[in-house]
């Protein structure tokens, strides 16, 4: 068994704008089961962060408990990390976000960590539009405790032991839309061509960005009858708004405009290009998004891609008028303005 990646790499490994190869964004070898979808998502995160040229030390990765929440150990070894209590990642994330608005935040969670024990926390972090990318590594089962059905397991889906799930599934995408999320996407761990541009757009979005990623559990939920297996997902997937992420500096070519139907500008000058089925699709209309989602569900299809985006929405920081300067950079006078300031505050409340 290999415990270390070989020290040798491709001799022509490209460097990004901050002069790093993708190796600087990797982590140790995964101890998840071989073939786990989560590892593909980790690889997509490495590609995304390298591609966006974000220095690893400007990224914070936070997670809860579960196979999914274990996966941040296996990417971005040189970033900040916090492995929180089960389902409580959003609270810790909120605290981190308030105290340092300068970092790029990735939340990694799973279907149990989000849709079961963490449901309450999830609902509120969506409402608050906290500036983060929230990735749900969704495999429809509790892989860490031998594969029981989770809250996102589809009704009628068969477990490895042969039991049919009688309960309705929680659709996190529909839920997030209902709760007012400003960036909602769904993808599949086996399709990095779609997942990486989505992640780039999510990282560039100012506000809460949910990506619900179907990520098959090879050990407990990859059999015939499962609706979260590699085969089932591939057969039922339908790419809705296919996204091409366009960084600010990059000129949009005529080719791209003809191939795509819509361009949505992000707050920082980047943009996303939508193509393929996007012809009749307006991802900035929440009603259209809801309706399209329901239509696809009725047809037993899994709608993926960028489902909804509101690039203009105010994020949590803005809403509460919090300081943009990280707390660790504030001086004594700003943190402790003195008794005169206290007096004036007290005075205002009398």
């Amino acid at each position: 068994m290999s415990y270390f990646r070989p020290p040798l790499r491709h001799p022509n490994e490209p460097k990004n704008e901050v002069g790093l190869t993708a190796q600087a964004y990797e982590g140790p070898i995964s101890t998840l089961c071989a073939g786990c979808g989560h590892d593909s998502i980790s690889a997509a995160i490495v590609q995304t962060m390298w591609g966006l040229s974000i220095p690893p030390h400007r990224i914070a990765k936070l997670s809860g408990i579960g196979c999914s929440s274990k996966s941040p150990s296996y990417f971005l070894a040189q970033s900040h990390g916090f492995n929180s209590v089960h389902g409580r990642m959003p609270s810790v994330m909120t605290g981190a976000n308030i105290s340092n608005n300068d970092l790029h935040y990735i939340g990694i969670s799973g279907d149990g960590d989000t849709a079961s024990i963490g449901m309450g926390q999830f609902a509120h972090v969506v409402r608050r539009n906290l500036n983060m990318m929230y990735v749900v590594e969704n495999n429809g089962c509790y892989g860490l405790t031998k594969g029981q059905d989770s809250a996102t397991a589809d009704e009628g889906s068969k477990s490895k032991k042969g039991r049919i799930n009688p309960f309705e599934a929680i659709d996190l995408v529909a839920l997030a839309l209902d709760l007012g999320a400003t960036f909602v996407a769904r993808s599949f761990s086996g399709d990095k061509d779609q997942l990486v541009p989505l992640m780039k757009a999510a990282m560039s979005h100012k506000g809460f960005a949910l990506i619900d990623v179907v990520s098959p559990c090879v050990t407990f939920n990859n059999h015939p009858g499962s609706t979260k297996s590699y085969d089932y997902t591939r057969q039922h997937v339908e790419a809705g708004a296919v996204v091409d992420f366009v960084p600010m500096e990059q000129e949009i070519t005529l080719d791209q405009i003809q191939g795509s139907t819509r361009k949505v500008d992000l707050h920082n000058g980047d943009s996303v290009q939508l193509s393929k089925l996007a012809a009749e699709y307006d991802p900035t209309d929440r009603n259209v998004a809801m309706r399209t989602l329901m239509e696809h569900k009725a047809e037993d299809k899994l709608l993926t891609g960028l489902i909804y985006i509101d690039p203009e929405a105010e994020d949590f920081h803005k809403m509460l008028n919090l300081t943009d300067t990280p707390l660790n950079e504030l001086g004594k006078s700003e943190l402790c303005p003195g008794s005169d300031a206290l007096q004036s505050v007290n005075q205002a409340l009398r």
Partner: protein, 612 residues
Amino acid sequence: MKATDISNPEYFHKVVDCQFACPAHTPVPEYIRLIGQRRYTDAYMVNWESNVFPGILGRTCDRPCEPACRRGRVETEPVAICRLKRVAADNKDDADVAARMPTVPAQKNGRKIALIGAGPASLTVARDLMPLGYEIDLYDENAKGGGFMRSQIPSFRLPEEVLDQEVNYVTDMGVSALYNQRVDSMKAMLAKDYDAIFVGTGAPRGKDLNIPGREEAADNIHIGINWLESVAFEHIDKVGKKVVIVGGGNTAMDCCRTAKRIGGEEVTVTVRSTYEAMKASPWEKEDTLGEGIPILANHSPREFILENGKLTGMSFNVVESSYDENGKRTITETGEVVTLECSDAIMAIGQDNAFPWIEKDAGIEFGDWDMPVVDKVTFQSTNPKVFFGGDAAFGPENIITAVAHGHQAAISIDLMLNGQSVVDDRPAPGVHLASTKMGIHQWAYDSDVVADQRQASAHLPIEKALSSRKIESELGFDLDTAFIEAERCLNCDVQTVFTEEKCIECDGCTDICPTHCITFTDNAEEDELRQKLTAPAPNESQDLYVSMDLPTGRVMVKDEDLCLHCGLCAERCPTSAWDMQKFLYTVTKADNQPAPILAKHQQRTRPREQAA
């Protein structure tokens, strides 16, 4: 692209870069692993089966394997394959090796073969045919066997004991060695009723330099290869104090280093080309400079200078090399003339074949440059009974090429004398492909890739090295260094074998591969495919491994160029669609003789095959 046919033994053979580049196709990773396990005798025998002279080659080989080594593509320097071979030879158990020599039947098969010239090609023919019961007469004009390995390679590079031992392994099989017998007539040989004659006489004629003063100063002007031979057989034991060597090949390097050991105080090498374009191996040039011998590049000989009828110096035109866009070289004189004092001058500017002893009417056709017409596969001449090999066949090459020729000529001789076709009945290579899987994520080879750099081989202190021409100047690796170097080998013979039916396209292999070798993509023509892989594959000398169509309609494409054979793709594969399988390729010898290590495998597997 069409799906790769991995059942063709040449596909995986090509992935084992070192073995593929070796003219004799020695299974390099196989013996390096054995050295890593400190099984020196086993490592020696794997070599001996394939190249007959591991101890000699471990010191003197031209090393076509090393520039081919994958390590040089993913890191800076290749594995020191040649010096590892020497480790096996230096540390083998002599008694054990003797016990493992092939048995030679006491009852001969009644066929008699003459080998002319006792160099590596002829000795290889003898080594392959003696165990089959042939009677062999080995002719050489010198008092001992070894050919150019003895006469051309100085003892400070190749000790006499090493040479004697490996020549004797062959001659001790019962070869009747007819030394001190120069063969002067092919017709006389043909008249002796041999069933076959093998010519392994090398390229014995050193080139001369006809510039003014050559004839007048003849006493102190020597032809490199003849001079080295005279030193080796102790006809010459000293040289003047100031010596100039003309030439930039390995013979020039041997001449200057020899001169330095038998009286030469100021020895200088002059070469017409640039330093970089010299024909000598880089390590030989380094060793030469290391012994304080200057190499003057861009010096074209002009004339020999005499005083009172005695050589006192040489003058040179200083030249410049320039290359056109096709890489063709033009040498122009700068007008500058340099004079070097010298009491002796040695010409080491190449060598030619010469067959004055083969009569025009001996039934052997000669072609261009007075070379015999020899088949490149069978080594048969136009006289079906006469075969050529080594430098005698196609001009000067090297020892390992001569060995490869010898094996093939032996096959031809054996086929012909058994009434079979030397073309159609040639044996297929031995191929053995078996999984190295020992358990979950456990392999029967050391899959870890180490970061160690190439280890340097130790040398004697220079004063000691120069004190005698018989003291070996390079010490080779000690055992701990050898282990470090052996671990650098990437085990390219452990192949990544892909089974389409098992793949669920989870991307686990693509994500883990440290050198981005693996891509799942829509199929395309090779040129397009090479561009659209995860990492483009510009090295067209290395193949793409393409699978059949997978359920999503895509194919798996693996660029063999930079694969580290680390096994991580197989470790991260949930369905064992990837497997690490050891591929052992052996060149089959005369009478389908497989290598002994392979024979053990076959003894184990044969009963099972019969049961099936």
